[in-house]
């Protein structure tokens, strides 16, 4: 062993390894800032919220972690109607979005021809107009004594819906029906776009083939088109249901105190009542419910390659 041998080995070693190490580190450098942002401002806040939800105290005296899990039970006991309502409204709106959105997505994908771009623009454009302004417009549309209410009244639709508890006789505004109508409206583009994307990928020749094999249009739809559009159905329903379950804008603007959703309670507790533990617990319960439902739904529908 000589002294002169050692230094070159040390010097060349890193020099040979350096490019490969640097190359190996490239993805990490690319990821670092964005992932750090998500960790600090998305994941860490959830930890803070978890700790807030088991604190007790008051705004004057300060809050302290006391592992007071009872907050969760109290929150559930006091606000379960709002939870149930949120899931019910969001679920109904999702189903309505699917029923309303499917024909339109189908129309754009297969029937629009040279009008396709225009129709797509009309679907996307509302995205860019403030959704609050558009939701306020529903106040005008559904106003008491307005054209919509008059027509529904003449057709005796309101008699039926009032009997079901969706509306009150002679009015739609400030009833569950108005809230669901607003939710459906606001989240329709989130249903239509994924549906359209997956429908557009279907080879039109499959329809011809089904026809050649004596399938009626209905059978073709049931056995070919719909199954092939399942990825769109799944991502569309998720994109509709998840935000709708936490929304409180529609319930506040179009509903009444009897139609409040859980998002509204969380907002009031956090920003007005300043009862942070209860608000944090409510928010966690909502998150848990939604994540559980979403996981179960994705498992069942068998499309795990969504991410």
């Amino acid at each position: 062993m000589s002294v002169t041998d050692a230094p070159p080995a040390k010097a060349t070693g890193p020099q040979i390894r350096k490019p490969s190490t640097r190359k190996r580190l490239v993805p990490y450098w690319l990821l670092l800032p964005g992932i750090l942002w998500l960790v600090v401002f998305f994941a860490l806040p959830l930890v803070y919220q978890a700790s807030t939800s088991v604190q007790t105290g008051s705004l004057e005296k300060g809050f302290e972690v006391t592992w007071h899990f009872a907050t969760y039970w109290d929150a559930l006991r006091d606000y379960y109607p709002q939870f149930i309502r949120s899931l019910l409204y969001a679920g109904t709106a999702t189903i309505l979005c699917l029923l309303l959105g499917y024909p339109l997505a189908y129309l754009i994908a297969f029937k629009a021809g040279r009008w396709r771009n225009l129709v797509l623009v009309l679907v996307i454009a509302p995205f860019f107009t403030s959704f609050l302004i558009r939701t306020l417009a529903w106040k005008t549309i559904l106003a008491d004594g307005g054209a919509v209410v008059d027509v529904l009244n003449t057709l005796h639709v309101l008699d039926v819906t009032s009997w079901l508890g969706w509306t009150e006789s002679n009015r739609v505004l400030a009833t569950p029906m108005a809230v669901v109508c607003g939710l459906t409206y606001n989240f329709l583009p989130f249903m239509i776009l994924p549906l359209y994307t997956s429908l557009e990928r279907i080879d039109g020749r499959l329809h011809e083939a089904a026809g050649d094999l004596y399938a009626t249009p209905a059978t073709t739809f049931r056995k070919v088109t719909f199954p092939l559009s399942m990825p769109g159905v799944v991502s569309g329903t998720l994109l509709t249901f998840i935000p709708a379950s936490g929304d409180y804008v529609n319930a506040e603007l179009l509903g009444s105190t009897d139609t409040k959703m859980v998002g509204s309670v969380i907002q009031t507790q956090f920003l007005r009542v300043l009862d942070y533990p209860t608000a944090a617990a409510l928010s966690f319960i909502l998150m848990a419910i939604v994540l559980l439902m979403v996981t179960a739904y994705i498992r069942r529908s068998g499309t795990e390659d969504l991410v």
């Binding site: 490239v26 964005g34 806040p45 529903w138 005008t140 936490g246 608000a279």
Partner: protein, 265 residues
């Protein structure tokens, strides 16, 4: 009955057009009521035609200030989310490394969470840190929730890119920077543009997360929200109409451009 047969044959088209009408109806109402002269504070019932609001769109206290604030936040959030998101998308598509699955879920989760949960948890962080709520907290929040959408949009585009084009560039003695600027970036551009547009729209329109983390700062959606209680000025409808028309024009122009490029290619 021929009419019934016609309806049955065109059922999908009729249903689709009805849905489209349902989607456009509020925009038409917003447009029509921008020409209203309301009687009182609320602009919910038609009174009589007037051009007042269009002549003086900023005639309402604080509205245009909130509008410009929203535009600024949206612009910076778009820049931030697009840069960070594009970097993540490239790393995820082009490289194999450990923790890929975990990172994929970290990016998916913000999109799979009700907005109010993110809004509330972010507020607990800011409260615990003693941060002053305002412009910066809103911007931080907007970059956070736009990021995932940008990653998804850019990823879709980069995935369909042929890596051989970059190899070819390198074979022709282009350096890594040159390859990226002259080959990779132009091909990925439509995906990046889509992501940026989405981020801008999401940020500009966001209400729930902003409402939790803005403190006393008022963005345009928050102004509209407040006006629902205080009384809605007609100018809100003017802004809404202008935004709708502008959006239609921008999207149409983009599509025309894309069509022309497709034809010439």
């Amino acid at each position: 009955m021929p009419v019934l047969r016609w309806i049955r044959r065109n059922l999908i088209v009729i249903a689709g057009l009805l849905t489209l009408a349902y989607m456009i109806l509020p925009n038409i109402v917003v447009m029509v009521f921008s020409f209203n002269k309301p009687n009182g504070r609320f602009n919910y019932a038609w009174q009589r035609f007037s051009l007042d609001a269009w002549k003086d769109p900023c005639g309402v206290a604080d509205m245009c200030g909130s509008l410009s604030l929203s535009l600024q936040i949206a612009a910076w959030a778009t820049v931030g989310a697009t840069v960070l998101g594009t970097m993540i998308a490239f790393a995820l598509v082009r490289y194999r490394f450990r923790a890929r699955g975990a990172i994929n879920s970290l990016i998916f989760l913000p999109m799979a969470m009700p907005e109010v949960v993110m809004a509330a948890s972010l507020l607990t962080l800011f409260l615990n840190m003693g941060a002053e709520l305002g412009f910066w907290t809103v911007l931080i929040a907007h970059i956070m929730f736009c990021l995932s959408f940008v990653v998804t949009a850019v990823k879709a585009r980069v995935m369909s890119m042929d890596p051989r084009l970059e190899e070819a560039a390198r074979d022709l003695y282009a350096g890594p920077v040159q390859t990226f600027v002259r080959v990779t970036l132009p091909i990925a551009a439509p995906g990046i543009a889509a992501g940026a547009l989405l981020a801008f729209a999401l940020s500009f329109d966001d209400f729930i997360i902003t409402n939790f983390n803005a403190g006393s700062t008022v963005t345009f959606p928050m102004f509209v929200w407040g006006s629902a209680q205080r009384g809605t000025p007609v100018q809100i409808n003017v802004i809404g109409t202008a935004m709708f028309v502008l959006a239609v024009l921008v999207v149409l122009a983009g599509q025309l451009l894309a069509n022309r490029r497709k034809k010439s290619a």
